[in-house]
Symmetry: C3
């Protein structure tokens, strides 16, 4: 099954990748690596998940937020690949930043929202190294932020 | 205009890069990538910006802190390039860590202090992928820390 | 002295690297780089150091936690090298995440637990770039998390 077919089956339409809004860009290609900037859970230009895990943001919402962050990462990656996600050889690393309280301990479960989607979309090439940490706050009060490094052909 | 001329025009004199103070080093070169250790806003060996954004540290001070962190990154990068910043092909990624309260939301504006300077000094090669997150505290109560990955010729 | 001999001299027996527990993996190899997932201070499958620096976790425990995290990183790296740590050319970067209070300032000293061990085990190849930050909380209430990037032959 092609990646496009998998996305359709998962009911995911990749958004138009957000344009650069400052002096940084959504991704940089160096050699055969693509480094994608940290993505927050924006949907149609609006932040969809705010607040902290362990407080105003439920675990379920956190998982959805991580999933949406990864969809935004994927949209940037597709752009980096000239539209063809079939060029992705490997998700090398995902970094997951979970806005949460000092008492929160379920960071890994939240980040699985992104990791599970990576494998659902990209198969074995989607299995990645990962670091997940808590943070007190994120830009625009986002609940989750996900960054990525990818190897492409 | 050369990078040295741009730095002069911006009124920036790169400091002598700080020496290793522990069993880590300010940068490592692997292939054509330079990975620069997280830099805090040190000036003349002293920490110049302390306290949290959203509390003791104003947005203006935070932006200056991010700028100073990037100047320190640049000093290390220049050393990695044997003194010639003209060898920098691309700022691949900057990581920005903003010491702040749980209520703070303007992380991106603070980090622009580093990002804007990258482009002012390096032009198009200065446009980079970026991840910016909040943190509860940083070494030596620094307000900001910036790390970088670079491609060099 | 071989790396195996150094480990023995240091009284360190590398654990069996933990198996993947989710859709992420402990490391990914891309080119001659190995990216190791963030490791927490697990010992015999149990978390050995919990709580925050500056509160329930002492500086001494934090240093031991960082050391244990790096031992777990090293176990994954050895697996990535097909069992032969002699293939490690360089520790490129370590990322250190210190669970702590907003008032904590000694992040660097805690992370030295990992950095010092890197050099004790790998010699000059162990000298690395490093970023150390505070975080409000980590998966499973871990006190420290360490991730790494390595160049191998």
């Amino acid at each position: 099954m092609t990646i496009a077919a998998r996305l359709t089956e998962l009911g995911i339409a990749l958004p138009t990748p957000a344009k650069p809004v400052a002096n940084y860009v959504p991704y940089v290609i160096t050699g055969n690596l693509v480094v994608v900037s940290g993505q927050i859970p924006l949907k149609d230009g609006k932040i969809a998940f705010t607040g902290k895990l362990g407080d105003q943001c439920t675990a379920e919402s956190g998982i959805e937020a991580a999933k949406l962050c990864f969809i935004n990462v994927l949209a940037q990656l597709q752009d980096a690949c000239g539209g063809d996600l079939g060029r992705v050889r490997r998700v090398v690393r995902l970094g997951g930043f979970i806005a949460c309280t000092a008492e929160f301990t379920a960071h890994a479960q939240v980040m699985n929202g992104a990791s599970d989607l990576a494998v659902a979309v990209l198969g074995d090439a989607g299995r990645h190294a990962r670091s997940t940490i808590g943070v007190p706050s994120l830009p625009m009060d986002a609940s989750v932020e996900v960054e990525g490094m990818f190897e492409i052909a």
